[in-house]
Symmetry: C2
């Protein structure tokens, strides 16, 4: 391709987000980070992306201030990647994507009788379904408020990928 059009100078907020988020590799890497996976190899394995792409996108996300690179040991040098506050604030976007897919992207019964991933509101124990607000206690759901329980199908897929 020729250099893709730069959207970072638009005044439209969706355009600015799309500049970063309009990329499947970025979205998959963010998913892994939200799942708590921090190491390069774990991210590469679970996303199915090549190391080159993972490396390039992590550099981009670091430059954008979404991700921080952290040395967790010196000898040999090893790093992990963590979401910054700016990165954690992308939770709403990923969660909205999850909700939409649960509602529209599965055949009936494809993942058994429930959703692909069930989310429980830690504060009150309610199953939040595909809502942005807890259907039980009415609280707005934020990063850290939820506990995910993958369906049997999803769990099998994840263990098949290794980490």
């Amino acid at each position: 391709m020729p250099k893709r059009a730069d959207l970072s100078d638009t005044f439209c907020p969706v355009g600015r987000s799309a500049e970063i988020l309009g990329d499947r590799a970025v979205l998959l890497i963010l998913r892994e980070l939200f799942f708590g996976r921090r190491r390069f190899e774990a991210i590469a394995a679970n996303t199915g992306l090549g190391p080159q792409l993972v490396s390039a996108r992590l550099k981009l996300l670091e430059k954008e201030g979404v991700v921080e690179r952290h040395a967790y040991q010196e000898r040999p040098p090893r790093h992990e990647y963590r979401l910054t506050a700016k990165g954690k604030d992308l939770f709403d976007v990923l969660y909205a994507m999850r909700n939409w897919a649960e509602r529209w992207a599965y055949e009936a019964g494809e993942t058994g009788s429930g959703p692909a991933m069930r989310y429980i509101h830690r504060a009150c124990g309610a199953d939040v379904g595909t809502s942005t607000v807890c259907p039980e206690c009415g609280e707005i759901l934020r990063y850290g408020d939820l506990k995910g329980e993958p369906s049997v199908a999803l769990k099998a897929e994840q263990t098949a990928k290794g980490t």
Copy 2:
């Protein structure tokens, strides 16, 4: 590129969404459709994308059931594109992207004194800020509940692009 990895067979809901939404052209086209622009040329002009890309992505979105092609006259044949229910349900995703960008993607004062695009809750008249729930009346915000008022900077950019 080689054929990009297919994510439609993953059981992860974020992966399934990313299959469609992890593409800047798709996000920009959806933005235009949510703004109420329905004609091919208007979408192409406002996104800055070439007609080929717009054509390919609209076909994809039609195949995915996100968009419907509608003939609004027969001679000469003219079409417009509309969001289906499945497409309108992507509102939460685009709105979350907008909220995130308003919070993180602008320098102070870049769009004047307010956000790039102000949203007013039609039901109660409150400025909703970057919240998913109306700060005034507590209602969950959905597609159609909001009225957008672009900042001076954004309005200037839009009129510059034509439609």
